[in-house]
Protein backbone atom coordinates (compact mmCIF):
# COMPACT_ATOMS: atom_id res chain seq x y z
CA UNK A 1 0.00 0.00 0.00
CA UNK A 2 2.89 2.35 0.78
CA UNK A 3 4.32 1.64 -2.65
CA UNK A 4 1.01 2.52 -4.25
CA UNK A 5 0.80 5.77 -2.31
CA UNK A 6 4.38 6.58 -3.27
CA UNK A 7 3.72 5.96 -6.95
CA UNK A 8 0.51 7.97 -6.80
CA UNK A 9 2.40 10.87 -5.18
CA UNK A 10 5.06 10.64 -7.88
CA UNK A 11 2.36 10.82 -10.50
CA UNK A 12 0.99 13.97 -8.93
CA UNK A 13 4.46 15.49 -8.59
CA UNK A 14 5.65 14.70 -12.06
CA UNK A 15 2.51 15.85 -13.33
CA UNK A 16 -1.07 10.67 -22.24
CA UNK A 17 -2.08 9.87 -24.63
CA UNK A 18 -2.20 8.29 -21.20
CA UNK A 19 -5.06 5.95 -21.32
CA UNK A 20 -6.75 6.44 -24.62
CA UNK A 21 -9.39 9.08 -24.19
CA UNK A 22 -12.66 7.56 -23.00
CA UNK A 23 -14.50 10.37 -24.78
CA UNK A 24 -13.91 11.06 -28.46
CA UNK A 25 -15.08 13.76 -30.88
CA UNK A 26 -18.81 14.02 -31.74
CA UNK A 27 -19.73 11.00 -33.83
CA UNK A 28 -16.49 9.19 -33.01
CA UNK A 29 -16.35 5.47 -32.30
CA UNK A 30 -13.51 3.83 -30.39
CA UNK A 31 -12.69 0.17 -29.87
CA UNK A 32 -10.46 -0.83 -26.96
CA UNK A 33 -9.33 -4.39 -26.37
CA UNK A 34 -7.18 -4.96 -23.29
CA UNK A 35 -5.53 -7.98 -21.71
CA UNK A 36 -3.48 -8.17 -18.54
CA UNK A 37 -2.62 -10.56 -15.74
CA UNK A 38 -6.18 -10.61 -14.37
CA UNK A 39 -8.63 -9.97 -17.15
CA UNK A 40 -9.52 -9.61 -20.79
CA UNK A 41 -11.78 -6.71 -21.62
CA UNK A 42 -13.41 -5.00 -24.55
CA UNK A 43 -14.95 -1.54 -24.66
CA UNK A 44 -16.69 -0.14 -27.71
CA UNK A 45 -17.95 3.39 -27.23
CA UNK A 46 -19.66 6.11 -29.22
CA UNK A 47 -19.43 9.82 -28.43
CA UNK A 48 -22.58 11.82 -29.26
CA UNK A 49 -20.80 14.97 -28.05
CA UNK A 50 -17.26 15.87 -27.05
CA UNK A 51 -18.40 15.68 -23.43
CA UNK A 52 -19.47 12.06 -22.99
CA UNK A 53 -19.48 8.63 -24.56
CA UNK A 54 -21.57 5.52 -24.09
CA UNK A 55 -20.93 1.97 -25.11
CA UNK A 56 -20.61 -1.71 -24.38
CA UNK A 57 -18.17 -3.04 -21.82
CA UNK A 58 -17.31 -6.69 -21.43
CA UNK A 59 -14.79 -8.16 -19.00
CA UNK A 60 -13.58 -11.67 -18.24
CA UNK A 61 -11.83 -12.12 -14.89
CA UNK A 62 -9.93 -15.31 -15.54
CA UNK A 63 -8.73 -16.42 -12.10
CA UNK A 64 -12.05 -15.81 -10.33
CA UNK A 65 -13.94 -17.10 -13.38
CA UNK A 66 -16.57 -14.42 -13.71
CA UNK A 67 -17.68 -12.01 -16.42
CA UNK A 68 -19.23 -8.58 -16.67
CA UNK A 69 -21.39 -7.40 -19.56
CA UNK A 70 -23.03 -4.03 -19.54
CA UNK A 71 -23.17 -0.39 -20.58
CA UNK A 72 -20.44 2.08 -19.71
CA UNK A 73 -20.86 5.84 -19.60
CA UNK A 74 -17.79 8.09 -19.68
CA UNK A 75 -18.11 11.77 -18.84
CA UNK A 76 -15.48 14.46 -19.29
CA UNK A 77 -15.73 16.52 -16.10
CA UNK A 78 -12.92 18.93 -16.82
CA UNK A 79 -10.27 19.50 -19.47
CA UNK A 80 -7.42 21.98 -19.11
CA UNK A 81 -5.53 22.86 -22.26
CA UNK A 82 -2.23 24.74 -22.23
CA UNK A 83 0.14 25.39 -25.13
CA UNK A 84 2.38 22.44 -24.22
CA UNK A 85 0.13 20.27 -22.09
CA UNK A 86 -3.33 18.85 -21.61
CA UNK A 87 -5.02 17.55 -18.46
CA UNK A 88 -8.32 15.69 -18.17
CA UNK A 89 -10.66 14.54 -15.43
CA UNK A 90 -13.21 11.86 -16.27
CA UNK A 91 -15.98 10.00 -14.51
CA UNK A 92 -16.38 6.43 -15.76
CA UNK A 93 -19.35 4.33 -14.68
CA UNK A 94 -20.92 1.09 -15.76
CA UNK A 95 -24.07 -0.92 -15.10
CA UNK A 96 -24.76 -4.46 -16.19
CA UNK A 97 -24.77 -8.10 -15.25
CA UNK A 98 -22.07 -10.24 -13.65
CA UNK A 99 -22.03 -13.96 -14.29
CA UNK A 100 -19.94 -16.40 -12.30
CA UNK A 101 -18.87 -19.84 -13.45
CA UNK A 102 -16.55 -20.55 -10.56
CA UNK A 103 -16.72 -23.69 -8.42
CA UNK A 104 -18.02 -21.73 -5.44
CA UNK A 105 -20.64 -19.74 -7.34
CA UNK A 106 -21.55 -21.80 -10.36
CA UNK A 107 -24.11 -20.17 -12.69
CA UNK A 108 -24.54 -17.25 -10.28
CA UNK A 109 -25.84 -14.04 -11.85
CA UNK A 110 -25.86 -10.65 -10.13
CA UNK A 111 -26.55 -7.06 -11.05
CA UNK A 112 -23.19 -5.34 -11.21
CA UNK A 113 -22.02 -1.75 -11.28
CA UNK A 114 -18.80 0.20 -11.11
CA UNK A 115 -17.74 3.82 -10.94
CA UNK A 116 -14.49 5.71 -10.69
CA UNK A 117 -12.51 8.73 -11.73
CA UNK A 118 -9.60 8.99 -14.13
CA UNK A 119 -7.18 11.90 -14.24
CA UNK A 120 -4.33 12.44 -16.65
CA UNK A 121 -1.76 15.03 -17.61
CA UNK A 122 0.50 14.94 -20.62
CA UNK A 123 3.00 16.85 -22.67
CA UNK A 124 4.69 15.57 -25.80
CA UNK A 125 7.54 14.24 -23.65
CA UNK A 126 5.94 13.18 -20.33
CA UNK A 127 2.68 11.87 -19.06
CA UNK A 128 1.17 10.82 -15.78
CA UNK A 129 -2.20 9.30 -15.01
CA UNK A 130 -4.21 7.81 -12.20
CA UNK A 131 -7.58 6.09 -12.13
CA UNK A 132 -9.64 4.18 -9.62
CA UNK A 133 -12.75 2.05 -9.79
CA UNK A 134 -15.14 0.77 -7.17
CA UNK A 135 -16.74 -2.45 -8.38
CA UNK A 136 -19.81 -4.14 -6.96
CA UNK A 137 -21.12 -7.46 -8.24
CA UNK A 138 -23.06 -8.81 -5.25
CA UNK A 139 -21.83 -12.15 -3.96
CA UNK A 140 -19.63 -12.63 -6.98
CA UNK A 141 -17.10 -9.87 -6.39
CA UNK A 142 -16.62 -6.42 -4.86
CA UNK A 143 -13.37 -4.49 -4.85
CA UNK A 144 -11.64 -1.18 -5.31
CA UNK A 145 -9.04 -1.08 -8.04
CA UNK A 146 -6.43 1.60 -8.66
CA UNK A 147 -4.01 2.14 -11.49
CA UNK A 148 -1.24 4.72 -11.97
CA UNK A 149 1.02 5.34 -14.93
CA UNK A 150 4.04 7.47 -15.72
CA UNK A 151 5.58 7.61 -19.17
CA UNK A 152 8.28 9.22 -21.25
CA UNK A 153 8.63 9.53 -25.00
CA UNK A 154 12.23 8.76 -26.04
CA UNK A 155 11.81 11.09 -29.03
CA UNK A 156 9.25 13.68 -30.05
CA UNK A 157 7.49 12.35 -33.09
CA UNK A 158 5.92 14.63 -35.65
CA UNK A 159 2.29 14.50 -36.70
CA UNK A 160 1.67 11.28 -38.59
CA UNK A 161 4.89 9.58 -37.52
CA UNK A 162 5.24 6.47 -35.38
CA UNK A 163 5.14 7.52 -31.71
CA UNK A 164 6.78 5.50 -28.95
CA UNK A 165 6.33 5.72 -25.19
CA UNK A 166 8.06 3.90 -22.35
CA UNK A 167 5.55 3.48 -19.56
CA UNK A 168 5.59 2.22 -15.99
CA UNK A 169 2.21 1.03 -14.74
CA UNK A 170 1.25 0.16 -11.16
CA UNK A 171 -1.97 -1.70 -10.33
CA UNK A 172 -3.60 -2.45 -7.00
CA UNK A 173 -6.73 -4.47 -6.31
CA UNK A 174 -8.16 -4.43 -2.77
CA UNK A 175 -9.30 -8.06 -3.06
CA UNK A 176 -5.96 -9.48 -4.12
CA UNK A 177 -3.06 -10.46 -1.91
CA UNK A 178 -0.32 -9.65 -4.35
CA UNK A 179 -0.06 -5.95 -3.44
CA UNK A 180 1.00 -3.55 -6.12
CA UNK A 181 1.77 -5.06 -9.52
CA UNK A 182 4.29 -3.10 -11.55
CA UNK A 183 4.32 -3.48 -15.33
CA UNK A 184 6.82 -1.81 -17.63
CA UNK A 185 5.40 -1.50 -21.10
CA UNK A 186 5.95 0.04 -24.51
CA UNK A 187 3.25 1.97 -26.29
CA UNK A 188 3.30 2.47 -30.05
CA UNK A 189 0.82 4.52 -31.99
CA UNK A 190 0.43 5.81 -35.49
CA UNK A 191 -2.56 7.53 -36.99
CA UNK A 192 -5.66 6.08 -35.29
CA UNK A 193 -4.06 2.81 -34.19
CA UNK A 194 -2.46 2.18 -30.82
CA UNK A 195 -0.85 -0.88 -29.27
CA UNK A 196 0.74 -1.52 -25.88
CA UNK A 197 2.81 -4.50 -24.86
CA UNK A 198 4.43 -5.20 -21.52
CA UNK A 199 5.38 -7.87 -19.01
CA UNK A 200 4.87 -7.52 -15.27
CA UNK A 201 7.12 -8.73 -12.44
CA UNK A 202 5.33 -12.11 -12.44
CA UNK A 203 6.00 -12.52 -16.18
CA UNK A 204 2.34 -11.97 -17.08
CA UNK A 205 1.76 -10.41 -20.48
CA UNK A 206 -0.04 -7.11 -21.00
CA UNK A 207 -1.39 -6.49 -24.48
CA UNK A 208 -3.72 -3.60 -25.29
CA UNK A 209 -5.04 -2.40 -28.62
CA UNK A 210 -7.09 0.67 -29.48
CA UNK A 211 -8.59 1.76 -32.78
CA UNK A 212 -10.41 5.04 -33.25
CA UNK A 213 -12.85 5.27 -36.14
Amino acid sequence: MKRLLFITCMVMLVAGPVWPRPVSYPGGVTLMQMNDADRNSIHLHYSPTARFSIGYKGELWRDEDWQFHGAQLNYLIKRRNRFASQANLYLKSGLGVAYSDSDALEDETEVAAFTGIAVDWETRRWFAAYENRAYYAGDIESFIGQKARVGIAPYIGGYGQLHTWFILQADHNSEKDDGVIVTPLVRLFKSTYMAEIGVNEDSDLLLNMVVRF
Binding site: F83, E122, H163
Partner: protein, 124 residues
Amino acid sequence: MKIFFCSVLFIALLWNDSISAENKSDMHQHKSQETVAELVDPNIKGNVCENRVLVKVNGLVCDFCARAVEKVFGRRKEVAGIQVDMDQGQISIVLHPDNAIDDTTLEKLVTDSGYNMVSIQKGC
Protein backbone atom coordinates in the same frame (compact mmCIF):
# COMPACT_ATOMS: atom_id res chain seq x y z
CA MET B 1 27.42 0.53 -15.17
CA LYS B 2 23.77 0.10 -16.18
CA ILE B 3 22.85 3.40 -14.54
CA PHE B 4 25.72 5.12 -16.35
CA PHE B 5 24.66 3.64 -19.68
CA CYS B 6 21.03 4.65 -19.15
CA SER B 7 22.06 8.16 -18.13
CA VAL B 8 24.19 8.60 -21.25
CA LEU B 9 21.36 7.30 -23.42
CA PHE B 10 18.85 9.63 -21.75
CA ILE B 11 21.11 12.70 -22.16
CA ALA B 12 21.78 11.77 -25.78
CA LEU B 13 18.04 11.55 -26.48
CA LEU B 14 17.36 14.92 -24.87
CA TRP B 15 20.30 16.54 -26.68
CA ASN B 16 19.19 15.13 -30.01
CA ASP B 17 15.70 16.42 -29.38
CA SER B 18 16.88 19.94 -28.53
CA ILE B 19 18.97 20.06 -31.74
CA SER B 20 15.95 18.91 -33.72
CA ALA B 21 13.80 21.59 -32.07
CA GLU B 22 16.28 24.31 -33.08
CA ASN B 23 16.37 23.10 -36.66
CA LYS B 24 12.59 22.94 -36.77
CA SER B 25 12.34 26.49 -35.46
CA ASP B 26 14.71 27.80 -38.16
CA MET B 27 12.82 26.02 -40.89
CA HIS B 28 9.34 26.73 -39.62
CA GLN B 29 8.41 29.88 -41.53
CA HIS B 30 9.52 28.45 -44.84
CA LYS B 31 7.78 25.16 -44.04
CA SER B 32 4.49 26.89 -43.18
CA GLN B 33 4.35 28.51 -46.59
CA GLU B 34 5.11 25.22 -48.28
CA THR B 35 2.47 23.50 -46.21
CA VAL B 36 -0.29 25.77 -47.40
CA ALA B 37 0.81 25.34 -50.99
CA GLU B 38 0.84 21.56 -50.55
CA LEU B 39 -2.61 21.63 -49.06
CA VAL B 40 -4.24 23.35 -51.94
CA ASP B 41 -5.79 21.02 -54.44
CA PRO B 42 -4.37 21.94 -57.85
CA ASN B 43 -7.88 21.67 -59.23
CA ILE B 44 -9.12 24.40 -56.90
CA LYS B 45 -9.19 27.79 -58.61
CA GLY B 46 -8.73 31.06 -56.81
CA ASN B 47 -6.36 32.82 -54.47
CA VAL B 48 -4.62 30.56 -51.97
CA CYS B 49 -4.59 33.26 -49.32
CA GLU B 50 -8.31 33.90 -49.54
CA ASN B 51 -8.98 30.24 -48.85
CA ARG B 52 -6.64 29.88 -45.91
CA VAL B 53 -7.46 29.95 -42.21
CA LEU B 54 -4.79 29.51 -39.56
CA VAL B 55 -6.08 28.55 -36.11
CA LYS B 56 -3.82 28.50 -33.07
CA VAL B 57 -4.97 26.19 -30.29
CA ASN B 58 -3.92 25.03 -26.83
CA GLY B 59 -3.58 21.38 -25.84
CA LEU B 60 -2.27 19.98 -29.11
CA VAL B 61 0.20 17.52 -27.57
CA CYS B 62 -1.00 14.08 -28.61
CA ASP B 63 -0.92 12.83 -32.19
CA PHE B 64 -3.42 10.04 -31.54
CA CYS B 65 -5.93 12.50 -30.04
CA ALA B 66 -5.26 15.15 -32.71
CA ARG B 67 -6.74 12.82 -35.31
CA ALA B 68 -10.03 14.21 -34.05
CA VAL B 69 -9.13 17.48 -35.77
CA GLU B 70 -9.04 15.75 -39.15
CA LYS B 71 -12.30 13.94 -38.45
CA VAL B 72 -14.19 17.01 -37.18
CA PHE B 73 -12.98 19.49 -39.80
CA GLY B 74 -13.00 16.89 -42.57
CA ARG B 75 -16.77 16.49 -42.27
CA ARG B 76 -17.34 20.12 -43.23
CA LYS B 77 -18.14 20.63 -46.88
CA GLU B 78 -16.33 23.99 -46.85
CA VAL B 79 -12.99 22.36 -45.97
CA ALA B 80 -10.68 21.32 -48.81
CA GLY B 81 -7.85 20.17 -46.56
CA ILE B 82 -6.18 20.64 -43.21
CA GLN B 83 -2.69 20.36 -41.78
CA VAL B 84 -1.92 19.90 -38.07
CA ASP B 85 1.34 21.36 -36.74
CA MET B 86 1.96 20.10 -33.21
CA ASP B 87 5.24 22.00 -32.88
CA GLN B 88 3.46 25.34 -33.31
CA GLY B 89 0.09 24.31 -31.87
CA GLN B 90 -1.75 25.31 -34.99
CA ILE B 91 -4.18 23.99 -37.55
CA SER B 92 -3.94 25.21 -41.16
CA ILE B 93 -7.26 24.96 -42.95
CA VAL B 94 -7.79 25.42 -46.66
CA LEU B 95 -11.35 26.14 -47.70
CA HIS B 96 -12.93 25.52 -51.05
CA PRO B 97 -13.24 28.71 -53.15
CA ASP B 98 -16.15 30.98 -52.18
CA ASN B 99 -16.61 29.14 -48.89
CA ALA B 100 -16.21 30.51 -45.39
CA ILE B 101 -16.56 29.37 -41.78
CA ASP B 102 -17.44 31.98 -39.18
CA ASP B 103 -15.38 32.35 -36.01
CA THR B 104 -18.06 30.92 -33.71
CA THR B 105 -18.28 27.76 -35.78
CA LEU B 106 -14.49 27.50 -35.94
CA GLU B 107 -14.29 27.72 -32.17
CA LYS B 108 -16.94 25.02 -31.77
CA LEU B 109 -15.08 22.74 -34.19
CA VAL B 110 -11.85 23.25 -32.23
CA THR B 111 -13.64 22.52 -28.94
CA ASP B 112 -15.28 19.42 -30.42
CA SER B 113 -11.80 18.26 -31.42
CA GLY B 114 -10.70 18.53 -27.79
CA TYR B 115 -8.78 21.81 -27.77
CA ASN B 116 -9.12 25.48 -26.90
CA MET B 117 -9.01 28.25 -29.46
CA VAL B 118 -6.27 30.84 -29.02
CA SER B 119 -6.47 32.88 -32.22
CA ILE B 120 -7.78 32.86 -35.77
CA GLN B 121 -5.91 34.28 -38.74
CA LYS B 122 -7.69 34.44 -42.05
CA GLY B 123 -5.76 34.90 -45.28
CA CYS B 124 -1.98 35.16 -45.46
